[in-house]
């Protein structure tokens, strides 16, 4: 792998996103608006809002990065540029690291915007340092990116890629503990949720949302989430093929 080529790839992806101001606007503004909406939907139920808001700061970046990455990668495949890259002196890791850097940068802006709105305008109350929340949001975004990169290989059209969100993200949202605490679910569902990456991403956010000392569990959650991210990136690398039929 070559840091120079990975950086060039990251720059290229950032440049592509920059050419699409409406997407940037949607990425940054939509989560902020949704969080605001949540605040007013839950008027008078301050405790519920506090309980959901912090996880949302991480789950929005995860979902939007999943979508944006899978579509960007799909375009790279269908435009023939991926095939061209595969004939050139760059390694698969250069592409993946390049993507990770680019979407890491984009998701940092997104995380800063949504955390800013949440923490300062909507009075989301976090007793722990703000940098922890923002870091978790970026870690979530990177997980979304890695899952998107991997799953984009299974989609042949953009229609299919968009449908992967309800297919792969929604079940994880249902099982991650956001709606019902996992220990109150049927045993089968709890076991399944143990195997899902978003469970750990959510668990870390929920722990940070709760007051009191942060235990080592947050660290474990972060490690597991990062592990899933790396596994998804590795599986993504397997889907980048130098030779095709």
């Amino acid at each position: 792998m070559s840091p120079r080529i990975a950086a060039a790839t990251a720059l290229r992806v950032v440049w592509q996103i920059r050419r699409d101001p409406r997407t940037i606007l949607l990425l940054v503004v939509v989560p902020c608006v949704l969080l605001t909406l949540l605040k007013y939907v839950l008027t008078g139920q301050e405790a519920s809002f506090q309980h959901i808001a912090v996880p949302m700061l991480g789950l929005f970046p995860l979902i939007s990065m999943f979508l944006v990455t899978s579509i960007t990668m799909l375009r790279e495949r269908s435009s023939g540029t991926l095939e061209r890259l595969m004939t050139l002196p760059l390694s698969k890791l250069d592409i993946l690291v390049g993507y990770a850097l680019a979407f890491g940068i984009v998701s940092t802006f997104q995380a800063l915007a949504i955390s800013g709105v949440g923490l300062w305008l909507l009075d989301v109350d976090v007793t722990h340092p703000v940098w922890i929340v923002i870091s978790l949001a970026i870690i979530n975004a990177l997980l979304g990116m890695a899952l998107g990169l991997f799953l984009s290989a299974l989609a042949r059209t953009e229609f299919q890629a968009v449908q992967f969100m309800p297919a792969f993200i929604f079940p994880q949202l249902l099982l991650c503990g956001l709606l019902v605490a996992r220990d109150q679910m049927a045993t089968v569902l709890e076991v399944v949720s143990n195997a899902l990456p978003m469970t750990y991403a959510y668990d870390a956010l929920e722990r940070v949302a709760s007051p009191g000392e942060l235990g080592p569990e947050v660290g474990r959650d972060v490690v597991v989430t990062a592990g899933y991210t790396l596994v998804a990136l590795g599986l993504g690398a397997l889907t980048l093929r130098r030779r095709t039929e």
Binding site: W15, Q16, D20, T81, R84, P89
Partner: protein, 221 residues
């Protein structure tokens, strides 16, 4: 699906791969670049098996459909591909000049005509000055003047020692090649210089020569 292909290409020559669409030109070129999964047989490029990592710097490939980033400018595309192959910065200007796009460097690729997009794609492959250039129908949709200019560029590259393999389904482009590979239905009809083919078939033009060869092939033995 290609069958019984056995052919060599001389170093530093311009070799044309001619034949109707669907005859296997693209598959042959993909096999040479090493992106095609091949069932049996071997393809050697510059002494190494096709697709060998050592060849990625030495072989340039331009697909039929332009494979560049439509949402970036011409210059941004060249800068990215130039960084991958490690081409020095001044190569971008030089390459843009070679394909006649020097006035379009700042334009977004999606806003260009199909002929211009094809030339951006060609330029990105020329950046690293590969020893072998495999070009799949590089002149489709170009006006005659541009086509002539590009063929001049191809010959200039070959004089500098670049080996070019260029597919086309236009017979008058065949005349501009040093060597020809005529294909039909997934196999090679014949190979030779344009002169040899005309003499062998006793015809005036390569179009006629191609027809004659097909008739001979189809004639009941």
């Amino acid at each position: 699906m290609l069958q019984s292909i056995d052919v060599g290409v001389r170093t530093g020559s311009v070799t044309g791969v001619l034949g109707p669409s669907g005859c296997g030109k693209t598959t042959l070129m993909r096999a040479i670049v090493g992106v095609q999964i091949i069932k049996s047989g071997s393809v050697l490029v510059l002494g190494a098996p096709a697709g060998d990592p050592s060849l990625r710097r030495r072989v340039g490939y331009v697909t039929q459909a332009p494979s560049v980033y439509g949402d970036l400018t011409v210059h941004e595309n060249l800068r990215y591909f130039g960084r991958i192959v490690g081409a020095p910065g001044d190569r971008i200007e030089e390459t843009l000049h070679q394909v006649g796009l020097e006035d379009f460097a700042g334009r977004i690729v999606d806003g260009l005509s199909s002929g211009q997009r094809a030339r951006v794609s060609l330029a990105t492959a020329m950046l690293g000055e590969p020893e072998v250039l495999v070009l799949d129908e590089p002149t489709v949709g170009l006006d005659p003047v541009l086509r002539r200019d590009l063929w001049r560029t191809f010959h200039a590259l070959s004089e500098r020692g670049t080996t070019l393999l260029i597919s086309s389904h236009v017979m008058d482009e065949a005349e501009a090649c040093d060597e020809l590979i005529l294909m039909r239905d997934g196999s090679i009809l014949t190979t030779g210089t344009p002169e040899q083919l005309r003499l062998r078939t006793n015809t005036q033009s390569l179009g006629q020569a191609f027809l004659r060869l097909i008739e001979e092939q189809d004639a009941p033995a």
